[in-house]
Amino acid sequence: MVGGLDVSSHLCGQVQISGGESESRVASFSLIPQSVAQLDSFESAPVTIDLTLFRPGQTATYRRFTGRVETVNFNPAERLASIACRDGYQERIKAIRSAAEAAALTGGLAVSDQKVMAWIDSDPDPVGYFNNLLQTMRGCVAIDSSGLWQAIPWNIGTPSVSFDDSEIMDSSMTLSRPDRADVPESIVATLNHRFYRLHAAAVHLDWSCVSRYDMVIDGLPAAPKSMIMSALNNASGWLVKGEVAMTEPPVGGSLVQVGPHSVSYLTSSQQAALTCQSFTAWMYRRWYQQVEVRYRVTVATGGASERDESITANIESTFDAASWESTPTAETSNGIYAANAPVVSVQKTGYEGLKAPWPQINRALDHYADLTPADISISVEYVVAKALHKAAAGARKQTIQFERPLDPRWEIGSVIGAHAYGVSGVGQLVSFKDSLDHDSGEAVSQFVLACPKGNSSQTNFSSSIVLPLPDVQHNFGMYPLSNWFGASTRTLPNPPEDQLVGFLFNVQPLSEATFPAYSTYDAAAPVYNQQFRIVMPGIPANVRDPLVIDQTITATINIAGSGVEVTF
C-alpha cells in the first residue's frame, strides 16, 4: 500500500526489504504508475508492505514493512517508478525531547547517567545523546514491521525455530568469526570521581611566664596580653578556638628573696589588666585536599588482539572548597557574659561560624557535595554497562548467515537455531533481507544470526563499589611554648630556630640591673627581638597534596550465547 493505494498489481522487478539492529528498516520496489497524478502522490507517501504466503488450502499474510517513501525515480522510457522507503527510526530519535523520553526508548536496558552524559535542555542534542545511551545498552533498538519502536534485549534462550539442511538453501550457509579488531583482550572500565577531602586539626597551646625571681634579677619584661593575642591571631592559616584562657598576675606585692635581699615585686591593677601570666588556647585549622578515586574493573573479553580497550568517565563533586577553608570564625555570641551566664541547654564550643560540613577535629571527611553515593553507583554502572556493550557487541560479531525461502515470520531479536552443513548454533537475528523478484519468481530471505560465545542466556551485569574511607588521624606535634632568655648566660649559642616559640626577651644590661651580682647578663650572647613567637605546625604533604585512590569495581558480566559448533 502506497498512500492508501494498493499497488500490488502494478509491481514489477524486485521488492527488497531489509532491517538490522539499531538502524532503519528500508524497502525498495518498482512499479508502473497509472497516471501522473498517482506518480506525484507517491512523494513521502506512507507505505506498508504485506507479504502473503500461499499453501494449498491456506494463506498467511505478514506485514513486513511500515514506513514512508524516501525517494521516487521515474524512468519515462520504461514508465517505471523505482521507489525507496524507510521507516521512522531516525526521525523518532531526532524527536526526543528529554532524557526520560530517551531512556524510555531503550526500555530500561541502558544506563542513563545525568552526571556523565547530561541532557542539556538549553542546547539539546537528541541524536548524540541517544547514540551515547545506546553504547550502554545491553540490547538494541529497532522499529518493527508494524512501525512500532522496540527495545530488544540481547538474550539468547530457547530458539523459536531451528533450521536444518533441508530448510536452508544450498551453499548459502556462512560462518563469520569476529574480526581481530572487534574483540580486544580485555576492556578496562574506569570511573574517575573527583571530590574534596576536608581535614580539620587542632593544637593545644599552653604558656606560663618566668618566675618572679628571674624577673627581678634580670629585669625581665612581662608579656602583654596584646602581644600574645596578636601572635595567636597572626598564626598563618590557624584560628583560635573560642576564647583564649588567660590569667593575669596577682595584683599587689609579692616578696622575692634574692640572696640576702628581700624584694617586693609590685603589680598594679592597671598593669595586671594588660599583662598575661599564663594562658591556654586551642588553635584549629581546616583545609581541603583534592582526591580522585579511580573505580576500575577489567573485563576479560578473550580476544587475541594483544590490545586492551579502555572506557573512562569522569564525575566531579562541585563544592566551593576555597570558601569553606577560608571562612573565619564568627563567634559573636562568645564572651558576652563575664559571670553568672544563663544556663543554656547547648554550650558554645568555639567553632561557631564555620561553614558546613564540619570534619571532626584531627580527622577528615570525604565531601561528595552535590553527588550522593547513589549517583556514584549509577556512574559506575554507566562505565560497566558501556564495557558490557562493547564486549557483547564484539562477541556478537560471530555470525551465521544463511538463506531460505521467503520467511517473513522473524523480527530483529528473534532467537533462531541453524544446524546445517556441519555448522550448528543458536543465535539472535541481527539483520535480514527479504527479496521477491516478480520477473524470476525468486523469493528469498537472508538471515544473519549473532551467535556469541557467551556464558548465559541473558546479557546483563551487576556492579558494586566500596567508597573509600578517609582513614585519617592528625596528630600535629608542636614545640612547647617556652620562655627564651636573650643576652643571657642562659641563652643558647646557636638556638634551634624552629624551637624558638613562646616569649623571647632579653636580660637587662648590668648597668640597669638591681642586683648585678645575680644577673645572668651576657653581652656576647644572642639578643632577641622581643616578641611572642608562635610557629604553628605545617600540614604534611600526604594530607595536603592531591591524592589518587584506586578502588576496584566488583562486577559480574554475562553475555548471552552458546557459540557455534563446527564439525567437518
Partner: protein, 130 residues
C-alpha cells in the same frame, strides 16, 4: 557552625527546650511528675561528641534540681539518685534514629505546693558532620 543538637520536647526534635523545665507540686497529690525529653538533632549526617571522647552528660541545675531524677529508661528512675548527672553516650548521631530519650521524675521533697523549675543542660560538646 550552627549547632543542631540539644534537648527537645519531641522525638522528632522539632521543639527545642530553650527555657527552664517546670513542674507543679500539689500538696494534696504528692505523686511524682514524670516526663520524657529527648537529646538529639533533627539533622541526619551529624554527630555529637565530647572533645575528650568522654560521655556527653546531662545535668540539672536550678532551685528544684535536687528533686529531679534523670534516667535513660523509666525503670532506672527508681534506682538513680535525684540531682545526679546522667551520662548519655560517648557519641550521639543526628536524625530520628539517634535520638536519646531522657526520662525525668520530679517530686518536691517538702511536698509544699507550688510551681518549680529546673534547667537541663550538657557540658560543652562538639558537633560534626559524618
Amino acid at each position: 557552625m550552627e549547632t543542631s543538637f540539644g534537648f527537645f520536647l519531641d522525638p522528632a526534635c522539632t521543639t527545642p527546650i530553650v527555657s527552664s523545665v517546670q513542674f507543679v507540686q500539689a500538696i494534696s497529690n504528692p505523686s511524682p511528675d514524670k516526663r520524657v525529653v529527648y537529646f538529639g538533632s533533627p539533622l541526619a549526617g551529624r554527630f555529637a561528641v565530647m572533645a575528650d571522647d568522654s560521655d556527653i552528660t546531662a545535668s540539672i541545675s536550678g532551685p528544684a534540681a535536687s528533686n529531679v531524677t534523670l534516667a535513660l529508661s523509666e525503670a532506672d528512675l527508681g534506682v538513680r539518685n535525684p540531682g545526679a548527672a546522667l551520662p548519655i553516650a560517648a557519641r550521639v548521631d543526628g536524625g530520628p534514629a539517634g535520638v536519646v530519650p531522657i526520662y525525668i521524675r520530679a517530686l518536691d521533697s517538702t511536698h509544699v505546693s507550688g510551681e518549680r523549675s529546673f534547667f537541663i543542660s550538657t557540658a560543652i560538646f562538639e558537633e560534626w558532620s559524618q
